[in-house]
Symmetry: C2
Subunit: 267 residues, 2 copies
Protein backbone atom coordinates (compact mmCIF):
# COMPACT_ATOMS: atom_id res chain seq x y z
CA UNK A 1 0.00 0.00 0.00
CA UNK A 2 1.58 3.28 -1.10
CA UNK A 3 0.55 6.89 -1.52
CA UNK A 4 0.25 9.05 -4.59
CA UNK A 5 -0.62 12.73 -4.67
CA UNK A 6 -2.19 14.42 -7.64
CA UNK A 7 -2.96 18.09 -8.07
CA UNK A 8 -4.10 20.94 -10.25
CA UNK A 9 -2.58 24.38 -10.69
CA UNK A 10 -3.60 27.20 -13.01
CA UNK A 11 -0.14 28.70 -13.44
CA UNK A 12 -1.07 31.80 -15.49
CA UNK A 13 2.03 31.29 -17.71
CA UNK A 14 4.18 28.26 -17.02
CA UNK A 15 7.36 30.17 -17.88
CA UNK A 16 6.57 33.08 -15.56
CA UNK A 17 5.86 30.55 -12.82
CA UNK A 18 9.02 28.41 -13.06
CA UNK A 19 10.64 29.87 -9.92
CA UNK A 20 7.56 28.89 -7.92
CA UNK A 21 7.20 25.53 -9.65
CA UNK A 22 10.85 24.70 -9.00
CA UNK A 23 10.44 25.36 -5.30
CA UNK A 24 7.18 23.46 -5.11
CA UNK A 25 8.33 20.43 -7.06
CA UNK A 26 11.45 20.00 -4.93
CA UNK A 27 9.50 20.36 -1.66
CA UNK A 28 7.98 17.72 0.61
CA UNK A 29 4.56 18.53 -0.83
CA UNK A 30 5.51 17.87 -4.46
CA UNK A 31 2.79 15.76 -6.07
CA UNK A 32 3.49 12.76 -8.30
CA UNK A 33 1.16 14.15 -10.96
CA UNK A 34 0.32 17.82 -11.47
CA UNK A 35 -2.19 19.16 -13.98
CA UNK A 36 -1.41 22.66 -15.25
CA UNK A 37 -3.66 25.16 -16.98
CA UNK A 38 -3.01 28.47 -18.71
CA UNK A 39 0.55 27.56 -19.62
CA UNK A 40 0.32 30.41 -22.17
CA UNK A 41 3.11 29.19 -24.40
CA UNK A 42 3.56 27.45 -27.71
CA UNK A 43 4.90 23.92 -27.49
CA UNK A 44 8.41 25.03 -28.56
CA UNK A 45 8.49 27.32 -25.53
CA UNK A 46 7.35 24.74 -22.97
CA UNK A 47 10.07 24.26 -20.31
CA UNK A 48 10.20 20.50 -20.78
CA UNK A 49 13.92 20.34 -19.94
CA UNK A 50 13.47 22.16 -16.64
CA UNK A 51 10.72 19.75 -15.61
CA UNK A 52 12.91 16.84 -16.69
CA UNK A 53 15.66 18.13 -14.36
CA UNK A 54 13.09 18.20 -11.57
CA UNK A 55 12.25 14.58 -12.28
CA UNK A 56 8.99 15.15 -14.16
CA UNK A 57 7.86 13.93 -17.53
CA UNK A 58 5.75 16.51 -19.41
CA UNK A 59 2.83 16.33 -21.76
CA UNK A 60 1.57 19.61 -23.02
CA UNK A 61 -0.35 21.42 -25.70
CA UNK A 62 -0.25 25.15 -25.89
CA UNK A 63 -0.79 28.12 -28.10
CA UNK A 64 0.37 31.71 -28.27
CA UNK A 65 -0.78 33.89 -25.31
CA UNK A 66 -3.88 31.99 -24.20
CA UNK A 67 -4.91 28.66 -22.70
CA UNK A 68 -2.49 25.76 -22.71
CA UNK A 69 -2.65 22.59 -20.60
CA UNK A 70 0.00 20.22 -19.37
CA UNK A 71 0.36 17.19 -17.15
CA UNK A 72 3.70 16.72 -15.47
CA UNK A 73 4.33 13.44 -13.74
CA UNK A 74 7.09 11.41 -12.12
CA UNK A 75 5.74 8.36 -13.93
CA UNK A 76 5.20 8.30 -17.68
CA UNK A 77 1.64 8.07 -18.98
CA UNK A 78 0.59 5.11 -21.09
CA UNK A 79 -1.96 6.99 -23.18
CA UNK A 80 -2.45 10.67 -24.05
CA UNK A 81 -5.13 12.54 -25.96
CA UNK A 82 -5.67 16.27 -26.41
CA UNK A 83 -8.97 17.98 -27.11
CA UNK A 84 -12.56 16.75 -26.93
CA UNK A 85 -12.43 14.77 -30.19
CA UNK A 86 -16.19 14.66 -30.57
CA UNK A 87 -16.46 15.96 -34.11
CA UNK A 88 -18.32 18.98 -32.74
CA UNK A 89 -15.37 21.36 -32.80
CA UNK A 90 -15.72 24.47 -34.95
CA UNK A 91 -12.65 24.96 -37.20
CA UNK A 92 -11.57 28.18 -35.45
CA UNK A 93 -11.82 26.51 -32.03
CA UNK A 94 -9.71 23.45 -32.74
CA UNK A 95 -6.43 24.91 -31.52
CA UNK A 96 -7.87 26.31 -28.31
CA UNK A 97 -9.81 23.14 -27.48
CA UNK A 98 -6.66 21.06 -27.83
CA UNK A 99 -5.02 23.57 -25.49
CA UNK A 100 -7.86 23.16 -22.96
CA UNK A 101 -8.30 19.43 -22.59
CA UNK A 102 -5.81 16.65 -22.03
CA UNK A 103 -6.59 13.07 -21.14
CA UNK A 104 -3.84 10.86 -19.75
CA UNK A 105 -3.87 7.27 -18.55
CA UNK A 106 -1.41 5.99 -15.97
CA UNK A 107 -1.93 2.23 -15.68
CA UNK A 108 -5.62 1.92 -14.77
CA UNK A 109 -5.85 5.50 -13.53
CA UNK A 110 -7.55 7.89 -15.95
CA UNK A 111 -7.00 11.61 -15.64
CA UNK A 112 -8.79 14.40 -17.47
CA UNK A 113 -7.27 17.84 -17.07
CA UNK A 114 -9.49 20.64 -18.38
CA UNK A 115 -9.31 24.40 -18.59
CA UNK A 116 -12.98 25.23 -19.10
CA UNK A 117 -13.69 28.45 -21.06
CA UNK A 118 -14.37 31.35 -18.73
CA UNK A 119 -17.29 32.65 -20.79
CA UNK A 120 -16.68 36.41 -20.59
CA UNK A 121 -20.23 37.56 -19.75
CA UNK A 122 -23.63 36.06 -19.23
CA UNK A 123 -24.94 37.47 -22.54
CA UNK A 124 -21.78 36.79 -24.55
CA UNK A 125 -21.74 33.91 -27.07
CA UNK A 126 -18.70 32.52 -25.21
CA UNK A 127 -20.94 31.79 -22.24
CA UNK A 128 -23.18 29.53 -24.31
CA UNK A 129 -20.02 27.91 -25.66
CA UNK A 130 -18.93 27.31 -22.05
CA UNK A 131 -22.24 25.61 -21.20
CA UNK A 132 -21.92 23.37 -24.27
CA UNK A 133 -18.31 22.67 -23.32
CA UNK A 134 -19.48 21.08 -20.05
CA UNK A 135 -21.95 18.91 -22.02
CA UNK A 136 -19.20 17.79 -24.34
CA UNK A 137 -16.95 16.95 -21.39
CA UNK A 138 -19.74 14.72 -20.02
CA UNK A 139 -20.07 13.09 -23.44
CA UNK A 140 -16.34 12.45 -23.44
CA UNK A 141 -16.64 10.62 -20.14
CA UNK A 142 -19.65 8.64 -21.45
CA UNK A 143 -17.77 7.71 -24.58
CA UNK A 144 -14.48 6.68 -22.98
CA UNK A 145 -15.26 5.36 -19.49
CA UNK A 146 -17.76 4.18 -16.92
CA UNK A 147 -18.28 5.53 -13.38
CA UNK A 148 -16.88 2.25 -12.08
CA UNK A 149 -13.40 3.05 -13.37
CA UNK A 150 -10.57 4.94 -11.72
CA UNK A 151 -11.01 8.44 -13.06
CA UNK A 152 -10.04 11.90 -11.84
CA UNK A 153 -11.29 15.12 -13.41
CA UNK A 154 -9.08 18.02 -12.43
CA UNK A 155 -8.52 21.52 -13.61
CA UNK A 156 -9.67 25.09 -13.65
CA UNK A 157 -13.36 24.48 -14.32
CA UNK A 158 -14.30 28.16 -14.05
CA UNK A 159 -17.28 27.36 -11.87
CA UNK A 160 -17.84 27.84 -8.16
CA UNK A 161 -20.58 25.27 -7.55
CA UNK A 162 -22.07 26.50 -4.25
CA UNK A 163 -22.39 29.54 -2.03
CA UNK A 164 -19.56 28.08 0.06
CA UNK A 165 -17.21 28.44 -2.90
CA UNK A 166 -17.08 32.25 -3.09
CA UNK A 167 -16.61 35.00 -0.54
CA UNK A 168 -19.72 36.96 -1.39
CA UNK A 169 -22.31 34.84 -3.24
CA UNK A 170 -24.96 37.57 -3.24
CA UNK A 171 -23.22 39.86 -5.70
CA UNK A 172 -22.16 37.06 -8.07
CA UNK A 173 -25.50 35.76 -9.36
CA UNK A 174 -24.75 36.97 -12.87
CA UNK A 175 -21.09 36.04 -12.93
CA UNK A 176 -20.17 33.51 -15.62
CA UNK A 177 -18.55 31.32 -12.97
CA UNK A 178 -21.48 31.48 -10.54
CA UNK A 179 -24.67 31.87 -12.60
CA UNK A 180 -27.39 29.22 -12.19
CA UNK A 181 -26.89 27.92 -15.75
CA UNK A 182 -23.19 27.23 -15.32
CA UNK A 183 -23.82 25.53 -11.98
CA UNK A 184 -26.43 23.34 -13.68
CA UNK A 185 -24.11 22.54 -16.58
CA UNK A 186 -21.44 21.53 -14.08
CA UNK A 187 -23.96 19.52 -12.01
CA UNK A 188 -24.96 17.64 -15.16
CA UNK A 189 -21.40 16.42 -15.57
CA UNK A 190 -21.13 15.56 -11.89
CA UNK A 191 -24.33 13.48 -12.08
CA UNK A 192 -22.69 11.10 -14.54
CA UNK A 193 -21.05 9.54 -11.52
CA UNK A 194 -18.65 11.91 -9.80
CA UNK A 195 -17.77 12.84 -6.24
CA UNK A 196 -16.35 16.25 -5.30
CA UNK A 197 -13.22 14.91 -3.65
CA UNK A 198 -12.07 18.38 -2.52
CA UNK A 199 -15.32 18.89 -0.59
CA UNK A 200 -15.22 15.39 0.87
CA UNK A 201 -12.08 16.39 2.75
CA UNK A 202 -12.50 20.14 3.12
CA UNK A 203 -16.20 20.76 3.76
CA UNK A 204 -15.89 24.23 5.24
CA UNK A 205 -16.24 27.62 3.63
CA UNK A 206 -13.25 29.89 2.99
CA UNK A 207 -11.37 27.20 1.08
CA UNK A 208 -10.48 28.87 -2.19
CA UNK A 209 -8.07 28.23 -5.05
CA UNK A 210 -8.17 31.60 -6.86
CA UNK A 211 -7.83 35.16 -5.62
CA UNK A 212 -8.26 37.89 -8.25
CA UNK A 213 -5.17 40.07 -8.70
CA UNK A 214 -7.49 43.06 -9.16
CA UNK A 215 -9.10 42.77 -5.74
CA UNK A 216 -6.88 44.63 -3.31
CA UNK A 217 -5.17 42.26 -0.86
CA UNK A 218 -7.57 39.53 -1.99
CA UNK A 219 -5.29 36.76 -0.77
CA UNK A 220 -4.51 38.13 2.68
CA UNK A 221 -8.18 39.04 3.13
CA UNK A 222 -9.15 35.63 1.68
CA UNK A 223 -11.52 37.06 -0.88
CA UNK A 224 -11.48 34.21 -3.36
CA UNK A 225 -13.14 31.53 -5.40
CA UNK A 226 -13.02 27.74 -5.43
CA UNK A 227 -12.94 27.13 -9.17
CA UNK A 228 -10.04 24.65 -9.36
CA UNK A 229 -11.38 21.20 -8.72
CA UNK A 230 -10.44 17.65 -7.89
CA UNK A 231 -13.32 15.42 -8.84
CA UNK A 232 -13.35 11.65 -9.17
CA UNK A 233 -15.36 8.51 -9.51
CA UNK A 234 -16.55 6.74 -6.35
CA UNK A 235 -13.57 4.39 -6.26
CA UNK A 236 -11.19 7.37 -6.36
CA UNK A 237 -13.11 9.20 -3.64
CA UNK A 238 -12.88 6.11 -1.47
CA UNK A 239 -9.13 5.84 -1.93
CA UNK A 240 -8.57 9.56 -1.34
CA UNK A 241 -6.86 10.29 1.98
CA UNK A 242 -6.46 14.03 2.09
CA UNK A 243 -6.91 17.22 0.09
CA UNK A 244 -5.07 20.46 0.70
CA UNK A 245 -4.80 23.90 -0.81
CA UNK A 246 -1.14 24.78 -1.22
CA UNK A 247 -1.56 28.43 -0.20
CA UNK A 248 2.19 28.95 0.13
CA UNK A 249 2.47 29.26 -3.66
CA UNK A 250 0.06 32.18 -3.73
CA UNK A 251 2.09 33.90 -0.98
CA UNK A 252 5.39 33.73 -2.90
CA UNK A 253 6.92 36.45 -5.07
CA UNK A 254 5.18 36.94 -8.41
CA UNK A 255 2.50 34.34 -7.83
CA UNK A 256 -0.18 33.06 -10.15
CA UNK A 257 -3.65 34.32 -9.24
CA UNK A 258 -4.51 30.66 -8.57
CA UNK A 259 -2.77 28.24 -6.30
CA UNK A 260 -2.33 24.47 -6.42
CA UNK A 261 -4.87 22.07 -4.96
CA UNK A 262 -3.58 18.57 -4.19
CA UNK A 263 -5.17 15.29 -3.19
CA UNK A 264 -3.46 12.18 -1.91
CA UNK A 265 -4.67 8.66 -2.58
CA UNK A 266 -3.74 5.26 -1.28
CA UNK A 267 -3.07 2.79 -4.03
Amino acid sequence: MSQISIGTFNVNSVNARMPILERFLTSEEAPEILCLQETKCRDEMFPEDLFKELGYHSLFKGMKSYNGVAVISKIEPDEVEFGLNDGAVEPDKEESENARVVFAKFGDLNILNTYIPQGKEIDHPDYQYKLRFFQRVRQLFERKLTPKEKLLWLGDLNVAPTDFDVTNPKNKKNHVCFHADVKNAFAEVMSWGFVDIFRKHLPNDGEYSYWDYRVKDAFTRNIGWRIDHIIGTEIMAESSKKVWVERSLRAMERPSDHTAVIASFKV
Copy 2:
Protein backbone atom coordinates in the same frame (compact mmCIF):
# COMPACT_ATOMS: atom_id res chain seq x y z
CA MET B 1 40.43 73.14 -0.84
CA SER B 2 37.74 70.50 -1.24
CA GLN B 3 36.70 67.90 -3.78
CA ILE B 4 33.60 67.64 -5.91
CA SER B 5 32.71 64.82 -8.24
CA ILE B 6 30.43 65.22 -11.22
CA GLY B 7 29.22 62.53 -13.58
CA THR B 8 27.01 61.47 -16.45
CA PHE B 9 24.81 58.41 -16.77
CA ASN B 10 22.44 57.40 -19.56
CA VAL B 11 19.97 55.48 -17.39
CA ASN B 12 17.70 54.10 -20.14
CA SER B 13 14.62 54.84 -17.98
CA VAL B 14 15.18 56.51 -14.65
CA ASN B 15 12.36 54.54 -13.04
CA ALA B 16 13.66 51.19 -14.25
CA ARG B 17 17.08 52.16 -12.88
CA MET B 18 16.12 53.29 -9.38
CA PRO B 19 17.44 50.15 -7.65
CA ILE B 20 20.84 50.78 -9.23
CA LEU B 21 20.71 54.53 -8.63
CA GLU B 22 19.81 54.01 -4.97
CA ARG B 23 22.81 51.77 -4.44
CA PHE B 24 25.13 54.09 -6.36
CA LEU B 25 24.00 57.29 -4.69
CA THR B 26 24.43 55.83 -1.21
CA SER B 27 27.90 54.46 -1.98
CA GLU B 28 31.36 55.94 -1.43
CA GLU B 29 31.50 56.82 -5.16
CA ALA B 30 28.30 58.88 -5.18
CA PRO B 31 28.94 62.11 -7.10
CA GLU B 32 27.79 65.54 -5.90
CA ILE B 33 26.24 66.21 -9.31
CA LEU B 34 24.98 63.58 -11.74
CA CYS B 35 23.67 64.28 -15.23
CA LEU B 36 21.08 61.76 -16.45
CA GLN B 37 19.88 61.05 -19.97
CA GLU B 38 17.07 58.93 -21.37
CA THR B 39 14.97 59.24 -18.25
CA LYS B 40 12.03 58.14 -20.43
CA CYS B 41 9.31 59.56 -18.26
CA ARG B 42 6.97 62.48 -18.17
CA ASP B 43 7.68 65.04 -15.44
CA GLU B 44 4.79 63.75 -13.29
CA MET B 45 6.49 60.34 -13.23
CA PHE B 46 9.98 61.58 -12.33
CA PRO B 47 11.04 60.02 -8.99
CA GLU B 48 11.85 63.38 -7.40
CA ASP B 49 10.86 62.19 -3.91
CA LEU B 50 13.16 59.19 -4.04
CA PHE B 51 16.10 61.39 -5.03
CA LYS B 52 15.16 63.81 -2.25
CA GLU B 53 15.35 60.93 0.25
CA LEU B 54 18.82 60.15 -1.10
CA GLY B 55 19.83 63.76 -0.49
CA TYR B 56 19.63 64.98 -4.08
CA HIS B 57 17.79 67.91 -5.57
CA SER B 58 16.39 67.17 -9.03
CA LEU B 59 15.88 69.16 -12.17
CA PHE B 60 14.33 67.31 -15.04
CA LYS B 61 12.44 67.57 -18.28
CA GLY B 62 11.00 64.49 -19.87
CA MET B 63 8.43 63.18 -22.28
CA LYS B 64 6.58 59.95 -22.87
CA SER B 65 8.82 56.99 -23.83
CA TYR B 66 11.78 58.81 -25.29
CA ASN B 67 14.59 61.14 -24.31
CA GLY B 68 14.44 63.00 -21.02
CA VAL B 69 17.29 64.69 -19.14
CA ALA B 70 17.86 65.44 -15.50
CA VAL B 71 20.52 66.84 -13.21
CA ILE B 72 20.49 65.59 -9.66
CA SER B 73 22.72 67.37 -7.18
CA LYS B 74 23.42 67.61 -3.48
CA ILE B 75 23.58 71.38 -3.87
CA GLU B 76 20.80 73.37 -5.45
CA PRO B 77 21.47 75.07 -8.79
CA ASP B 78 21.21 78.84 -9.08
CA GLU B 79 20.07 78.87 -12.69
CA VAL B 80 18.36 76.35 -14.94
CA GLU B 81 17.43 76.32 -18.61
CA PHE B 82 16.06 73.57 -20.82
CA GLY B 83 16.47 73.27 -24.57
CA LEU B 84 18.71 75.11 -27.02
CA ASN B 85 16.62 78.31 -27.08
CA ASP B 86 18.09 79.52 -30.34
CA GLY B 87 14.86 80.17 -32.20
CA ALA B 88 15.87 77.44 -34.67
CA VAL B 89 13.66 74.76 -33.22
CA GLU B 90 11.02 73.27 -35.51
CA PRO B 91 7.60 73.17 -33.81
CA ASP B 92 7.45 69.34 -33.73
CA LYS B 93 10.93 69.17 -32.18
CA GLU B 94 10.37 71.56 -29.29
CA GLU B 95 9.34 68.92 -26.76
CA SER B 96 12.20 66.57 -27.57
CA GLU B 97 14.83 69.33 -27.60
CA ASN B 98 13.76 70.45 -24.16
CA ALA B 99 14.08 66.81 -23.10
CA ARG B 100 17.61 66.64 -24.54
CA VAL B 101 19.37 69.71 -23.21
CA VAL B 102 19.59 71.15 -19.72
CA PHE B 103 21.88 73.93 -18.57
CA ALA B 104 22.48 74.44 -14.85
CA LYS B 105 24.65 76.91 -12.98
CA PHE B 106 26.05 76.12 -9.54
CA GLY B 107 27.79 79.26 -8.29
CA ASP B 108 30.36 79.99 -11.00
CA LEU B 109 30.29 76.44 -12.33
CA ASN B 110 28.32 76.04 -15.55
CA ILE B 111 27.06 72.62 -16.59
CA LEU B 112 25.47 71.58 -19.87
CA ASN B 113 23.94 68.13 -19.93
CA THR B 114 22.98 66.95 -23.42
CA TYR B 115 21.46 63.86 -24.95
CA ILE B 116 22.49 64.31 -28.57
CA PRO B 117 20.13 62.72 -31.16
CA GLN B 118 21.37 59.33 -32.27
CA GLY B 119 20.65 59.95 -35.95
CA LYS B 120 19.26 56.55 -36.96
CA GLU B 121 21.21 56.04 -40.22
CA ILE B 122 23.74 57.90 -42.31
CA ASP B 123 21.17 58.61 -45.06
CA HIS B 124 18.27 59.38 -42.71
CA PRO B 125 17.16 63.00 -42.22
CA ASP B 126 17.72 62.54 -38.47
CA TYR B 127 21.45 62.26 -39.12
CA GLN B 128 21.55 65.72 -40.70
CA TYR B 129 19.52 66.96 -37.73
CA LYS B 130 22.16 65.45 -35.45
CA LEU B 131 24.97 67.29 -37.25
CA ARG B 132 23.05 70.58 -36.98
CA PHE B 133 22.37 69.80 -33.31
CA PHE B 134 26.12 69.87 -32.61
CA GLN B 135 26.41 73.25 -34.38
CA ARG B 136 23.57 74.62 -32.29
CA VAL B 137 25.22 73.35 -29.11
CA ARG B 138 28.38 75.26 -30.08
CA GLN B 139 26.28 78.36 -30.73
CA LEU B 140 24.74 77.96 -27.28
CA PHE B 141 28.22 78.01 -25.73
CA GLU B 142 29.20 81.02 -27.82
CA ARG B 143 26.06 82.84 -26.79
CA LYS B 144 26.19 82.14 -23.08
CA LEU B 145 29.84 81.78 -22.11
CA THR B 146 33.52 82.14 -22.92
CA PRO B 147 36.18 79.41 -22.84
CA LYS B 148 37.69 81.20 -19.83
CA GLU B 149 34.75 80.28 -17.63
CA LYS B 150 34.14 77.21 -15.54
CA LEU B 151 32.11 75.00 -17.83
CA LEU B 152 31.51 71.28 -18.11
CA TRP B 153 29.73 69.65 -21.02
CA LEU B 154 28.52 66.20 -20.10
CA GLY B 155 26.15 63.68 -21.49
CA ASP B 156 25.46 60.99 -24.01
CA LEU B 157 26.83 62.72 -27.08
CA ASN B 158 26.27 59.74 -29.38
CA VAL B 159 29.72 60.11 -30.90
CA ALA B 160 32.86 58.05 -30.42
CA PRO B 161 35.50 60.58 -31.46
CA THR B 162 38.49 58.33 -32.23
CA ASP B 163 39.45 54.76 -33.11
CA PHE B 164 40.31 54.29 -29.43
CA ASP B 165 36.67 54.84 -28.51
CA VAL B 166 35.18 51.71 -30.09
CA THR B 167 36.14 48.06 -30.06
CA ASN B 168 36.25 47.58 -33.81
CA PRO B 169 36.66 50.89 -35.69
CA LYS B 170 36.97 49.24 -39.10
CA ASN B 171 33.36 48.06 -39.37
CA LYS B 172 31.86 51.30 -38.00
CA LYS B 173 32.82 53.83 -40.68
CA ASN B 174 29.18 54.31 -41.65
CA HIS B 175 27.74 54.24 -38.16
CA VAL B 176 25.93 57.44 -37.14
CA CYS B 177 28.09 57.61 -34.01
CA PHE B 178 31.41 57.03 -35.81
CA HIS B 179 31.06 58.47 -39.31
CA ALA B 180 33.56 61.18 -40.35
CA ASP B 181 30.85 63.86 -40.48
CA VAL B 182 29.69 63.33 -36.92
CA LYS B 183 33.29 63.30 -35.70
CA ASN B 184 33.84 66.60 -37.48
CA ALA B 185 30.66 68.10 -36.07
CA PHE B 186 31.80 67.11 -32.59
CA ALA B 187 35.35 68.42 -33.23
CA GLU B 188 33.84 71.74 -34.26
CA VAL B 189 32.24 72.10 -30.84
CA MET B 190 35.44 71.01 -29.09
CA SER B 191 37.46 73.62 -30.97
CA TRP B 192 35.45 76.39 -29.33
CA GLY B 193 37.68 75.83 -26.32
CA PHE B 194 37.18 72.42 -24.78
CA VAL B 195 39.39 69.71 -23.33
CA ASP B 196 38.37 66.05 -23.29
CA ILE B 197 38.71 65.58 -19.53
CA PHE B 198 37.94 61.85 -19.72
CA ARG B 199 40.87 61.29 -22.09
CA LYS B 200 43.18 63.50 -20.06
CA HIS B 201 42.93 60.98 -17.22
CA LEU B 202 42.18 57.75 -19.07
CA PRO B 203 44.23 57.84 -22.29
CA ASN B 204 44.15 54.13 -23.05
CA ASP B 205 41.85 52.14 -25.30
CA GLY B 206 39.17 49.81 -23.94
CA GLU B 207 37.62 52.54 -21.79
CA TYR B 208 33.97 52.49 -22.77
CA SER B 209 30.71 53.81 -21.34
CA TYR B 210 28.16 51.88 -23.41
CA TRP B 211 27.81 48.21 -24.25
CA ASP B 212 24.98 47.27 -26.61
CA TYR B 213 22.43 44.89 -25.05
CA ARG B 214 22.16 43.18 -28.43
CA VAL B 215 25.81 42.18 -28.62
CA LYS B 216 26.12 38.89 -26.79
CA ASP B 217 28.12 39.26 -23.56
CA ALA B 218 29.24 42.70 -24.76
CA PHE B 219 30.09 43.88 -21.26
CA THR B 220 32.09 40.87 -20.12
CA ARG B 221 33.87 40.80 -23.48
CA ASN B 222 34.25 44.60 -23.30
CA ILE B 223 32.79 45.23 -26.73
CA GLY B 224 31.71 48.79 -26.24
CA TRP B 225 31.69 52.44 -27.15
CA ARG B 226 32.87 55.62 -25.45
CA ILE B 227 29.96 57.92 -26.26
CA ASP B 228 29.29 59.37 -22.80
CA HIS B 229 31.59 62.30 -22.26
CA ILE B 230 33.01 64.65 -19.69
CA ILE B 231 34.31 67.70 -21.46
CA GLY B 232 35.35 71.01 -19.96
CA THR B 233 37.02 74.32 -20.43
CA GLU B 234 40.76 74.59 -19.71
CA ILE B 235 40.23 75.78 -16.14
CA MET B 236 38.05 72.74 -15.44
CA ALA B 237 40.56 70.38 -17.02
CA GLU B 238 43.26 71.85 -14.81
CA SER B 239 41.23 71.37 -11.66
CA SER B 240 40.21 67.81 -12.59
CA LYS B 241 41.89 65.19 -10.44
CA LYS B 242 40.54 61.89 -11.66
CA VAL B 243 38.04 60.29 -14.03
CA TRP B 244 36.60 56.82 -13.64
CA VAL B 245 34.08 54.61 -15.37
CA GLU B 246 31.75 53.14 -12.77
CA ARG B 247 31.57 49.68 -14.36
CA SER B 248 29.93 48.16 -11.31
CA LEU B 249 26.59 49.66 -12.37
CA ARG B 250 26.67 47.83 -15.70
CA ALA B 251 27.42 44.57 -13.86
CA MET B 252 24.36 44.81 -11.57
CA GLU B 253 20.97 43.20 -12.10
CA ARG B 254 18.85 44.83 -14.82
CA PRO B 255 21.46 47.39 -15.83
CA SER B 256 21.24 50.25 -18.27
CA ASP B 257 23.17 49.61 -21.48
CA HIS B 258 25.35 52.57 -20.44
CA THR B 259 27.20 53.09 -17.22
CA ALA B 260 28.15 56.20 -15.27
CA VAL B 261 31.33 58.15 -15.95
CA ILE B 262 32.54 60.40 -13.11
CA ALA B 263 35.19 63.08 -12.74
CA SER B 264 36.48 64.63 -9.55
CA PHE B 265 37.66 68.20 -9.27
CA LYS B 266 39.41 70.22 -6.63
CA VAL B 267 37.65 73.46 -5.89
